[in-house]
């Protein structure tokens, strides 16, 4: 009897991690997506990367896939003329701005779900809710928010248009994203949403790590972890380069 009790307890302990995984793994199994690589490796030769995502849905409906970078505080400054010279005059800060954002849709946003639902899940650029800092008129804040989105689009960190989702057959789909070379590093989330008749049926979230690796990562860690030592090495390197240039030049 005691043996059985022990066994039951033991199996619970064993199953506990699975239980939490199941609880975390949002969704009821109608939707599964997988990135071909769950990391973007930035090396010295990095000049942008192609990201492919595959997925299966087991139910009728339309899809939205969103890539989101970490959220940061951003400041938008606007230029104005002061005595004939253009300089920054006004500024507006926003909290919770994703450093990177991209999305793919299988149908037009308005056909997918009601605006409120899209806004709740942050699907689409106009559904992104940045929290403005300070008290300015709504029109001013809207103007700065539009500028922020425009600036991020120019940088290539926000999409100009949603990407397409390609169906390989009825429920097997694929989509491609392109990450530019100036992509901010950090832990990203990739979330897929399944909508039917304007209701959210299922969502599936997976992570994407954008980080420098190898030599360039070691250099970055060195510079940020040990500033003094890094500075001294930079100087030492420059002194040696200057000295060898002198020896080189002296010969003729």
């Amino acid at each position: 009897m005691r043996f059985f009790l022990c066994l039951i307890c033991f199996s619970f302990v064993l199953l506990l991690p699975f239980a939490t995984v199941l609880a975390e793994d949002n969704g009821n199994g109608l939707l599964t997506v997988e990135l071909t690589a769950d990391h973007v490796d930035i090396t010295t030769g990095f000049h942008g990367a192609q990201l492919s995502l595959f997925g299966v849905k087991k139910h009728e409906g339309e899809l939205a896939i969103v890539i989101r970078g970490t959220e940061r505080r951003m400041v938008v400054r606007s230029k104005g003329q002061v005595m004939g010279v253009w300089m920054n005059k006004a500024s507006q800060a926003f909290r919770q701005v994703p450093v990177y954002y991209d999305l793919a849709l299988s149908a037009k946003g308005s056909d997918l779900a009601p605006h409120d639902l899209l806004k709740e899940h942050g699907i689409g650029l106009d559904a992104l809710d940045f929290e403005p800092v300070g008290r300015k008129t709504p029109e001013t804040i809207e103007r700065f928010k539009e500028a922020l989105i425009r600036n991020k689009q120019t940088q290539g960190h926000f999409p100009l248009d949603p990407k397409d989702i390609y169906f390989l057959n009825g429920d097997f789909f694929r989509t491609n994203f392109y990450v530019p070379s100036n992509v901010p590093t950090g832990d990203y989330t990739v979330t897929a949403y399944l909508f039917e008749d304007g209701k959210l049926l299922d969502r599936y979230e997976t992570s994407l790590r954008v980080a420098q690796i190898g030599f360039s990562a070691r250099l970055y860690d060195f510079a940020h972890g040990q500033g003094l030592l890094y500075g001294l090495s930079a100087v030492l390197f420059a002194v040696m380069a200057g000295w060898s240039a002198y020896m080189f030049l002296r010969k003729d």
Binding site: R77, N151, N182, L219, A223, G227, Y230, G231, G242
Partner: protein, 303 residues
């Protein structure tokens, strides 16, 4: 070929950076200037953050000034005593410059102040050089006074704390080289230039140092100041990108080689006219950016 800069966290075309380094190295070979006044604006123009441009430029200037100062040192053309006094000022200036840079970044005026400083300094130097070289070229020299050291004393010669500088045969207030160094240090930290274009005239016309010692001594003080600024930038702002610096240095060494050879074939006056023209071109381009309505009136930064 794109190369990813680990500290700037962006990719840049390596050829363009090498080319820029080579061009600046060529200029420093021909004219004996550091060329920071060209590198920093071009790096910013290529989309690098001003902080990275200025911080990295400091480390590149270490290399340039080391290679320059060694020859002068060997020939004994460095006055270490007056250079040391200048350093006291320039290290203080460099420290304050780094603080000012951060303050300006915080209030969002760094991309306004840097071009303004450049326009004023490059414009002023360019016009002065152009005027002087044109006069020389047209044999329109002013009547030289017989004694180069005037008997009347300007205000700065009656300052206290006078010191003897035997190497330069000077007996002047320590405040004078100290404050010249201070301005030099500010230029290094704020603008990413060595400041030779300011130091050399100041040492000749205000300190009245022997011309023979001026270049070596100014290079010595630029070397120590830029080394100090590099370490401070690396510690306080993490804005020194050694990959970018290496590209600039390699280009610079090649360019300087070619430049030194070319310098033998170019007459001094014409070289100065060309340099003045380059200074004025960069100055006009930067002034244009300040005066013409920008296409995008908004900028976004992570804060």
């Amino acid at each position: 070929m794109q190369i990813y800069l680990p500290i700037a966290e962006m990719a840049v075309p390596a050829e363009s950076i090498l080319l820029l380094g080579t061009l600046v190295g060529f200029l420093s070979g021909v004219f004996g200037v550091g060329g920071g006044f060209l590198t920093t604006p071009f790096l910013i123009f290529m989309g690098l953050p001003p902080g990275i441009a200025v911080g990295t430029q400091a480390s590149q200037l270490v290399a340039i000034s080391v290679s320059g100062v060694l020859g002068h040192w060997k020939r004994g053309n460095v006055d270490f005593k007056i250079g040391g006094v200048m350093l006291v000022g320039s290290l203080a200036g460099s420290l304050i410059g780094i603080f000012l840079f951060r303050l300006l970044q915080h209030i969002g005026q760094i991309d306004f102040v840097i071009p303004v400083l450049y326009v004023v300094l490059l414009g002023g130097m360019g016009l002065l050089m152009l005027g002087e070289s044109l006069m020389t070229a047209l044999k329109w020299t002013r009547v030289q006074s017989k004694d180069p050291r005037p008997y009347h004393r300007p205000f700065f010669q009656i300052l206290p704390y006078r010191m003897r500088f035997p190497r330069s045969r000077l007996y002047v207030s320590a405040l004078l080289p100290g404050s010249i160094g201070f301005i030099g240090g500010l230029l290094v930290s704020l603008m990413g230039v060595g400041g030779g274009f300011f130091l050399i005239p100041a040492m000749i016309y205000i300190l009245r140092m022997p011309t023979l010692l001026v270049v070596g001594t100014s290079l010595f003080q630029i070397m120590v100041t830029t080394a100090f600024a590099t370490i401070m930038h690396a510690m306080a702002n993490h804005t020194v990108d050694v990959v970018l610096a290496a590209l600039l240095i390699v280009g610079g060494v090649i360019g300087a080689q070619v430049g030194v050879r070319a310098a033998r074939k170019i007459s001094g006056v014409y070289a100065r006219v060309v340099l003045a023209a380059i200074l004025l071109c960069v100055c006009t381009a930067l002034a244009g950016e300040l005066l013409i309505r920008p296409v995008e009136l908004y900028v976004t930064e992570v804060r």
